[in-house]
Amino acid sequence: MSSGACTVNTVLIDLSGTIHIEDTEIPGSVKALERLQKSKVNIKFVTNTTKESKRVLLERLHSIGFNVKGEEIFTSLTAARYLIEQRKLHPLLMVDEKALEDFEGVSTENQDAVVVGLAPEKFDYNTMNQAFRLILSGAPLIAIHKGRYYKRKDGLALGPGPFVTALEFATGQKADIVGKPELSFFLSAVEEFSVAPSQCIMIGDQSTA
């Protein structure tokens, strides 16, 4: 190995499509992870999720046979929470009920921010107006991601992107997007390790994300 490659001491690993597909291990990845964990590198699992809380992800990984700890997982929801705490915000949470547990302990009184994930039941007219008025009066708009649509049992269904776009247009405020592939996502994921980006390697299955 060249000396440049030897300076890598932090590994970021995607979940779905990289070490598992739904409830099935991608062959060899449990073993590969054990070897990594025995070496001295920092490990962080990074994934874009708008619905699944950390607990749900962990349960799935454990049932497949992965030995992963909660603090090793950094999701787009974690990134949103990180941003909220950093800026001491009290958000209106337009996120799925199941994702709410990742925001436990976050104060939502006297709201001064809007967080939008994939949450069809929160994209109703009244909540949209509430979000609109908050942003118009200066609250930042934080988007987990801006996906256009997703697959539902009855066909394609609108993702968070269209609703984020609606709020951006009406208020003239651009959303902060917190998920992959945003630079801030990766920087926040490795912040606790105090390493330079050049010391990190990302392992994933999608070239654009």
Binding site: F132, G161, F163, A166, A170
Partner: protein, 267 residues
């Protein structure tokens, strides 16, 4: 005022210029009933140009007459009749995402096997499932056609601002990666149809509105002068808009008519 010299025809926006809405009821903006009368007495032709789509044109006129306004249905230009004309011309059958109270404007239109989506200010009807139906209709087309009645960002209702059709139009544009055809303000064809009806040229016409982009910006792009009123949805930041500069800013319609008549409009 010099900027009003030579004006001898006026287009008036309705919501936020003539009246406000409070708890579902209309309230005339002080001085505006009289202001319309003074314009008419001075012999200045008037048309009412509105993007109102939460009711039919007929119902809107009835409500304004009840408030005391001198207004006739043929003086009112609203998007729904213009859309019906576009649908006929282009052989389009709409899936409607509109306010229930405005559906009657589309009674005569064939809505079987939709080949376009028409969106208006649907208010409470802007539910996720209704937005999704519109989206699924569009995404199933080879060439999705989305027609939007106006593209306003927000308006004022009962002292708070609420999202207008433009926000939901943008959502569907983004979801399908398309661009909507806008009928109503600020589209040039809408203003030009009004000018034609008044038999006036842009240079002698003034548009009065509370929407810096749809009213003021839209009219100015057609060469029509435009006044911004500090009523309705007006916010002080509108006076520093990065792109649009009104020809004149007044407190309300009443003050505008004072200035216009003092500038010698028509008299």
């Amino acid at each position: 005022m010099a900027c009003l010299k030579g004006v001898n025809a006026v287009m008036l926006d309705i919501s936020g210029v003539l009246k406000d809405t409070a708890d579902g009821a209309d309230v005339a903006i002080p001085g505006s009933v009289n202001a319309v009368n003074r314009l008419k007495e001075a012999g200045i032709p008037i048309r009412f140009c509105t993007n109102e789509t939460t009711t039919t044109r007929k119902n809107l006129v009835d409500r304004l007459q009840k408030l005391g306004f001198s207004i006739k249905e043929e003086e009112v230009f609203s998007p729904a009749p213009a859309v019906c004309q576009v649908l006929r011309q282009r052989g389009l059958r709409p899936h409607l995402l509109v306010h229930p109270a405005s559906e009657a404007d589309f009674d005569a239109v064939d809505k079987n096997k939709p080949n376009c989506v028409v969106i208006g200010d649907a208010a409470e009807n802007f539910s996720y499932e209704n937005m999704n139906k519109a989206f699924q209709t569009l995404i199933a087309m080879d060439n999705p056609v989305l027609i939007s009645m106006g593209k306003g960002k927000y308006y004022k209702d009962s002292n708070s601002l609420i999202l207008d059709v433009g926000a939901y139009m943008k959502a569907l544009e983004y979801a399908c990666d398309i661009e909507a055809d806008v009928v109503g303000k600020p589209s040039a064809s809408f203003f030009l149809a009004v000018l034609q009806d008044m038999e006036r040229v842009p240079e002698e016409t003034l548009m009065v509105g509370d929407d810096i982009e749809s009213d003021v910006g839209g009219a100015q792009r057609c060469g029509i002068r435009a006044a911004l009123v500090r009523t309705g949805k007006y916010r002080s930041s509108d006076e520093n808009h990065p792109k649009v500069k009104p020809d004149i800013i007044v407190n309300d319609l009443s003050q505008l008519v004072d200035e216009l008549l003092a500038a010698g409009g028509k008299l």
